[in-house]
């Protein structure tokens, strides 16, 4: 189990190495990547801000939710903070399980829960201005 909020680039292979165990026949890794467009606008870069002291325990809680549902799963999660360029990895969730079906399901559970309950925010720098992304809303920076 490994949960990180970090300024440094994330290497998804390192998270996979952290969840590997001899009985794991499947590792499912989700990588979120900074995209060059949003809301029909060109995006130049992003800034992520975290409440790190709360974000890491929230990730740990999601890891426990996964263990409760898929007891053989092992989980690793990492999220970047700070300035990110297009194409960079912003978030990674890696889950190992004996078989692929539960690895896919548990990984999906992990990233969906992370997106709704881990206090990390995205500031989007786009062609038409700068916005805080709050759920499905984009709020212009005052």
């Amino acid at each position: 189990m490994r949960y990180d909020v970090q300024k440094e680039p994330i290497d998804p292979r390192e998270l996979e190495a952290a969840v590997t165990y001899p009985g794991a026949g499947a590792i499912c890794t989700f990588s979120g990547i900074v995209r060059d467009s949003s809301r029909g606008q060109t995006v130049t870069h992003l800034d992520y801000e975290a409440y790190a002291e709360m974000a890491v325990p929230q990730m740990r809680k999601i890891g426990q939710e996964i263990k409760d549902r898929w007891p053989e799963a092992r989980v690793a999660m990492a999220h970047r903070t700070g300035h990110l360029e297009i194409g960079e990895v912003s978030v990674v969730v890696s889950v190992s399980c004996p078989h692929r079906a539960e690895a896919f399901e548990a990984c999906r559970w992990g990233i969906d829960r992370l997106k709704e309950s881990v206090p990390i925010w995205k500031k989007e720098h786009a062609a038409d201005g700068t916005y805080w992304i709050e759920g499905d809303q984009a709020k212009p920076v005052a």
């Binding site: 801000e49 325990p57 709704e116 500031k123 805080w132 709050e134 759920g135 920076v141």
Partner: protein
């Protein structure tokens, strides 16, 4: 009996920019709830959004608005997280 207790308030993302501060020390009457703390801050920082669009955290855990704060607590007001389809 204490006439006021001190809490440490942390703001993040858009709320941090609207409040113009990352951390604020606030004195509130004993027995105050998280909702009372937020209302007191909104009276001071009038651009802070309505409570309905914000979640509260007490000592780094999500908490109900009616939870009571104690001296030395860390309170945070949290805008909706990134979420979305990304």
């Amino acid at each position: 009996m204490a006439v006021a207790i001190a809490v440490r308030v942390r703001f993040f993302a858009r709320l941090r920019e609207l409040a113009g501060a990352e951390i604020e020390a606030l004195q509130v009457p004993p027995g105050s709830s998280l909702a009372d703390v937020y209302d007191a801050l909104r009276a001071k920082h009038t651009t802070l959004p309505a409570r309905e669009s914000v979640r509260a955290a007490l000592n780094q855990e999500f908490a109900d608005w009616n939870a009571t704060v104690a001296g030395g607590d860390e309170v945070a007001f949290i805008p909706p997280v990134s979420g979305g389809r990304g």
